[in-house]
Symmetry: C2
Subunit: 336 residues, 2 copies
Amino acid sequence: MDVRELVGQARQGRPRAVARLISLVENAVENAETAANGGQSGASAGGDTTASRALREAMAELATGGARPHPARVIGLTGSPGVGKSTSTGMLIRAFRRRGSTVGVLAVDPSSPFTGGALLGDRVRMQDHATDPGVFIRSMSSRGHLGGLAWATPQALRVLEAAGCDVILVETVGVGQAEVEIAHLADTTVVILAPGMGDGVQAAKAGILEVADVLVVNKADRDGVQTTVRELRTMTALVEAPWRPPIVTTVASKGEGVDDLLAALDKHQAYLEESGEARRRRLARARDEIEAIALAQLRSRFAVLHGDRLDVLAERLLAAETDPYAAADDLIAALR
Amino acid sequence: MDVRELVGQARQGRPRAVARLISLVENAVENAETAANGGQSGASAGGDTTASRALREAMAELATGGARPHPARVIGLTGSPGVGKSTSTGMLIRAFRRRGSTVGVLAVDPSSPFTGGALLGDRVRMQDHATDPGVFIRSMSSRGHLGGLAWATPQALRVLEAAGCDVILVETVGVGQAEVEIAHLADTTVVILAPGMGDGVQAAKAGILEVADVLVVNKADRDGVQTTVRELRTMTALVEAPWRPPIVTTVASKGEGVDDLLAALDKHQAYLEESGEARRRRLARARDEIEAIALAQLRSRFAVLHGDRLDVLAERLLAAETDPYAAADDLIAALR
């Protein structure tokens, strides 16, 4: 595979080249995970396999080979299962396409590469836009505590940006860490809730309000929507930051509320640019990405070079012959 | 604070000493996160602050100062918001207490240290068992992509084990990474679902069946319970591993089904011991813990020693003057 050519094709918006580059990223996550769990295929982030060399080369080419005049606008969509994230994503794809924007969608499944859930949803949705050259939809899965998302997602975003996407929607399922990670990656994070289900309380519990730039109550044709909106309003009233998340009600399946949502997104985008927050977020993102890659590389070095050492240390810890901090010191010393 | 004395008191099952030791662990997570985000309080896992020295000392004392004849049995409980995790935990506390077991509960909130949701639930539940010296309940929060849970939770478990807990229930909210992490920590992972809510499909999507040792359909007095059980049965029928997760129905709020659940838990425990899987899991846990501490230490070194360097690299990445892998190499080189 000639990486330079692949990157060139992706820059021209060729879907297959875009897909192949994102697959490179995804495979690297999987290899890193396998390696870290004691498998042999590893060293991905460490840079020893062919796939990983290709990824490094592609990222070097993409990151330095001519910046775009405007960076892509990254919008994260998150929320509990069943609130209608995919439907909302679909609604936004259509809305941004009507404006003439090119749209990338990255469906991030923070759980498992094996169940294929995300891929299925992916395929279903791809059919809706199969003939539209202005839409790229890819899903990516990752699992475990590698922090795989933290380093893979920015790389996938870079591919979609290079392909000319004006807007990139990053959709993720889950309550907890995944959202926080996505919030770090997005310019604007949209947290979607649905009436009932105790979502309001759960949102507070899961700290979701800390990451939300825009709150959406979807399925607003259901009972209880006013209660949920009221709960959220009470909570956002306490926000003292310069940006207070607006609350938008939608019925994504019917496209209702899409104009309000777009207005809220645009308002947040304007706030980001005017306040200098846009640049701060991009810098934090770059910082996180570099650090995540460095940590993944170190982790794969632990696995590849010191797998045996780690096994010995684990045995000794179980046998009460060492303590976890001393063992960790030993592991770090073995890096040198 | 004399750490040796504190550990001695925890070993005697003194609740205040147990609470203080777990707070040490929790503070270390928070400090590490602050440091990693550019704050000043850091170096926790790196070992420079007083709190962190105390934690290291406590863990050394706990890990090596006389192992217990039987390790505590760690049972993880997980599931989407609203399925009744806390109620199920309460039901199991009472059931294990009736058997004469000492019970520790660790409620892990993978989202945020700021919202206090978990702490609230903690306080409410502590009242139920406030006068029972055989029950320890603590909650712990962590956020972001630090992998904070991965290194903090085993340390909190070590404290509860030292305090004499026969059974430790680890309860966590969420769909996605958090479960996978908890599953790595527990001997037996219980995934709780509720009828309706599309939980069956969502469970598959989130890869939850991969981590479940026992499946519980709670709120079994509601409509749709048979559908959910049927869906799960269809899915578990495909499991080819030596252990096929049993499906138990409960109404935790009324204590219904608790005997079936205990029987399933005991059966899994027996399987773990007979198959040698118990030891494999404990080894994997030790390995993960050591590695997570080593990575957290390295991460805090990045933050503390090379914060400026990382900022410069992030600026250069944004300016298309470097690529993320080259920047990561630079960061790792700066460690030396």
